[in-house]
Symmetry: C2
Subunit: 132 residues, 2 copies
């Protein structure tokens, strides 16, 4: 059994800060769960163009308000607490935060730890590992 | 892309109600994500004896307060918002809620949908599927 706390993890290497978002990765590939689990904050007014070509991702909104635009269909879905979206088709999308959003994210395959988005809005399959 | 909302899912087959807990399963095996994702409520004063012999599970506390006792070591870990525990060793444990707790749970392999705990506190590997 492994127990971690967000407030501790945010002080260390598990927290990645980028443009418009940060993400604290509470479970990673080296935990051998077969998925990774992150608490991600999307900053107010952020607009993120994303395309996880190498990963499946589910995103559950814990707090905040925004939307996701599905670029395959043009459809815009509002995001509020209790909304989940599953990127089961490696869906190209735009994520917008009208208010700061806290999201519980699950990736398969699991992240190594240090991933940030590349120019296509994807994570590469390899990255530096976070331990401890 | 699949979008679901907790308030809708709670009205249908995705919500399982059992002794001391209920769980609304927002992503299941038939979504082909490689994991399932559930929002689980542990009722105040519930004490659950659990042993997921067939699954790995991560549990993130969104709200509430309680504890988990690791029966291999006797150690008791408090659970509060921001705590995650990973049952990476199919750990036999007791989950206690001092206040009602809302948990974001991820299972690997993913659940089919209708699982409830067996006498050992495990989920069987096969169960009735939930669709829609």
């Amino acid at each position: 059994m492994i127990v971690r706390r967000l407030k501790d993890a945010e002080k260390g290497d598990r927290k990645i800060v980028s443009e418009g978002w940060d993400s604290t990765r509470l479970a990673l590939r080296n935990d051998n769960m077969g998925f990774s689990f992150h608490i991600t904050t999307i900053y107010r007014d952020a607009e993120l163009h994303l395309h996880y070509q190498n990963h499946l991702e589910s995103v559950y909104c814990v707090s905040g308000y925004g939307s996701i635009e599905d670029l395959a269909t043009g459809e815009v879905h509002t995001i509020e607490p209790g909304t989940i979206y599953l990127l089961d088709q490696h869906d190209k999308h735009i994520l917008r935060a009208e208010e700061e959003m806290k999201m519980a994210c699950v990736f398969n395959p699991p992240l190594h730890g240090k991933e940030v988005h590349n120019a296509e809005g994807a994570y590469e399959l390899d990255a530096e590992e976070v331990k401890g």
